[in-house]
Point group: C2
Chain length 220, copies 2
């Protein structure tokens, strides 16, 4: 019984790791679409979201089946709920990548982000992708080192995010309101993508150490 | 066994209904703080968030206890997972109310939203509060009529949200970039608050009808 439970739980974890890969790819595609006004890539990123949505539903079915057939004990139930929550976080990361792609598409053939923001968004895209990959490592190996790295990547994301406003709120900055709104929303999407990657790490960390570090409960 | 399960599930549902009340109050307080630059109310809305955070953790503990002691059958497990997801949605609604309050606080003693947006934000605040209340009705009574109303309230919220951009993107609009960024982010917070209320209704609707209407899977 116990072994059957562990095997099924591993296969659920494998699907979650797969989701981190999909989320990372999706934000990379969206970021390239954004920086190069590449409408084909924007469409690709939007279409790819169905994969994460489907994975989340499949994981939910597997979780239900696991709980119905294996009658997990208390500690295992905690793991199962954490898996369920992580699948929601990963699904949401896909939605946020879609939002980025849609802004790219809406402004096509223009590039939505002007020159002075491009390197920041390139860095935000890279950080987001790296965070999705690390969330996969945390899930696969229960690697608390990678979980700690995710927290500092998130600080870096916040720094990049804040730097957008420093540029926009400079009195000498002269682009219009539409650009400002796009940049503010894009910044928010990347920041939230990062938050969800951190949530995955917090869930795993909690399972390993029993400690809630409060990160997940902070309003972000 | 079955009866003990139902009783505990009811008490979890009662806590979720309580959370809808807290979320509704929190967004009302935040909206008033925003429209009247009332820093005391802004602080109150920020401080109140601890109640929703605590409720979510308590519900999670109760869910774990329920599953560990009552060995629920397949259909009941679905209900339990839906309760867990709804508690996350409600917790998140509190975070979004906090974001609104923080913008009010950041711009104090100025009012963050200029005159031409105030009635729209008042309506967004009222709609958000009403949606939280209706999510409570949906949870308490499994009332699909109220669930359908939530979907049309959400359309109304989207309409209000879009109207902000119509004003801001008018070439005659003359406020600065900072206001535009605040208004864009505030609009997003209210819209997301509404989305989470809809998620609660979708979860309950799914439990009652077995139908996933795809609302939850759309990237919003």
């Amino acid at each position: 019984m116990r072994q059957a439970f562990q095997e099924r739980l591993h296969s659920i974890t494998d699907r979650l790791v797969e989701m981190t890969g999909l989320a990372g790819e999706q934000i990379r595609t969206s970021t390239t679409a954004l920086l190069e006004a590449d409408i084909r890539l924007a469409d690709e990123a939007v279409a790819a979201d169905v994969l994460l949505n489907r994975s989340q539903l499949e994981i939910e079915e597997r979780i239900l089946e696991l709980m119905a057939t294996q009658a997990p004990v208390a500690r295992d139930l905690r793991t199962v709920l954490a898996a369920q929550r992580s699948s929601s976080d990963l699904e949401r990361m896909g939605d946020l990548a879609v939002h980025v792609a849609k802004i790219a598409r809406m402004r096509y053939p223009d590039v939505a982000v002007p020159a002075e923001f491009r390197s920041t968004f390139r860095d935000m895209g890279r950080t987001a992708e790296a965070m999705a990959t690390k969330a996969g490592t945390v899930l696969r190996l229960r690697d608390l080192g990678a979980a700690a790295e995710l927290a500092s990547d998130d600080d870096e994301m916040d720094r990049l995010h804040r730097s957008l406003f420093v540029v926009m709120f400079d009195p000498a900055w002269h682009r219009g309101v539409e650009v400002a709104v796009d940049v503010a929303l894009l910044g928010r999407y990347y920041e939230r993508f990062a938050d969800h990657a951190v949530n995955v790490a917090v869930a795993v960390r909690y399972l390993v150490t029993g400690e809630l570090d409060g990160l997940a409960a902070t309003a972000r």
